[in-house]
Amino acid sequence: MSARMSEPWGRAILSSIVALIFTALPLPPPYDSFRPQLLVLVVFYWSIATPRAGGLTLGFAAGLALDIFQGPVIGQHALAMSLITYIAVREHQKIRSKPYFQQSLIALVILFLYEFVVFSIDGWSGHPITSPERWLHIATGAVIWPPLAALLGHTHNRR
């Protein structure tokens, strides 16, 4: 049946929009700096789970959306997202077969890479923010990876 074989485009896009809304949700200041970059994690998930539905195009589009919402420079998050989705698509079979704990560590590295690219471009473009707060979300992101991957995997395999 072709419907069963089709890629979960709809869910990938829908969950990305939900994640985007989450990044724009106002939170009171102390919790604010711990807010995980959910959109990065969701796009990363789809890129390793189904590199066709996820992958570079979704990553680039999500990055552009982030640029509109929060970036001082257009293209900044798009570049960072393209980079991590590229890594995800290249290595998706290796990452997919790992247990959740190891995937969490990979997510940690990926989030660090993402934040590092954004941070560097912030600096080069003359909008530097050096406060250590900006690195906090990497840890929370890695912590929520297992439940997030389980949830997305559930919606994705249920059919």
Partner: protein, 294 residues
């Protein structure tokens, strides 16, 4: 069985290889960044995209908007009466002060004798509501629900009833991003009201704090001094309150004094801000909702 680098189970991505696509997207991103930074080419695209993002931002805002609406509609008669009373008293006080202010303005103009040399005064304003959306937790920015369709322009002063809040940066069709004076990238030319000394107040990056990094160690500044806009630079009208000096730290080793000030505008508790037009020597008037031909 395995052929080359691609194991047979792997579904190759649609169309071009990921490496090629990554190169393409990376070049595209860098080109976008370059265009956005170096030239105004992307202003138009940004404008359209900001318009496209606005529905999502409104959706994010809707729970808190609904909550405020509920709170407003279930206020009791007593509360409303009390508020009404309070507002009426306040209006009376403000009216009296305004009369005095107008007399002073006239007198001031006569004393100076030079209409052209008068500092620009806020001419009209437009109330705008803050859209409750997190733009970037690392930066001090807010989104307000007025855009170029309401005549808002870039680098327009934004105030509340207590003091200066910031200026507009990215103007969309229905929404505008406001950079607050507390943002580390923002600097506002100020004047110490007591002495007339001019300096620059830079955002400290946290809400509720400004730094005055360019004052020499022997500058005449004290705790409690009021900082007003100096009007230099032309973005902000002169003479509006900005902040109150909270802390002056003088170190014999350091050539410059370390001064912190607390902004008077209450961005954390505001739901409504005012966008200011200024230019002519007129006192402020409420802007009519429909722009009248001028």
């Amino acid at each position: 069985m395995a052929f080359g680098t691609h194991p047979p189970r792997s579904l190759p991505a649609r169309g071009a290889s990921p490496g090629f696509r990554f190169t393409l997207y990376a070049f595209l991103s860098v080109a976008l960044m370059f265009l956005d930074q170096r030239s105004g080419w992307l202003e138009r695209a940004r404008y359209i995209l900001q318009g496209a993002a606005y529905p999502i931002q409104l959706a994010v805002n809707s729970p808190s908007a609904a909550w405020h609406w509920l709170q407003d509609s279930f206020e009791t008669r007593e509360q409303l009466r009390a508020e009404n009373q309070r507002l009426r008293t306040r209006t009376r006080v403000v009216d009296l002060r305004l009369l005095q202010f107008e007399a002073l303005t006239r007198e001031n103009a006569q004393l100076r004798g030079l209409a052209a040399a008068l500092p620009p005064v806020a001419q009209r304003w437009l109330p705008a509501e803050i859209v409750n959306v997190e733009l970037n937790s690392l930066r001090q920015r807010v989104l307000v629900n007025r855009g170029s369709s309401n005549g808002v322009f870039r680098a327009q002063a934004v105030m509340d009833d207590r003091g200066l809040l910031g200026q507009t940066t990215h103007v969309g069709p229905w929404s505008t991003e406001v950079i607050l004076i507390t943002d580390p990238e923002h600097a506002v030319p100020v004047q110490i009201e007591r002495t007339g000394l001019r300096t620059i107040a830079v955002g400290a990056g946290t809400s509720g704090s400004l730094a005055l990094p360019y004052l020499p160690g022997n500058a005449d500044i004290r705790r409690g001094d009021l900082l007003i806009t100096s009007g230099l630079g032309g973005v902000f009208p002169a003479g509006y309150p900005v902040a109150r000096v909270a802390e002056v730290h003088r170190d014999a080793v350091q050539p410059l004094a370390q001064v912190r000030a607390t902004p008077l505008g209450q961005i954390d508790s505001d739901r409504e801000v005012m966008l200011i037009w200024f230019g002519e020597d007129k006192t402020a008037q409420m802007q009519p909702q429909k722009a009248k031909p001028r």
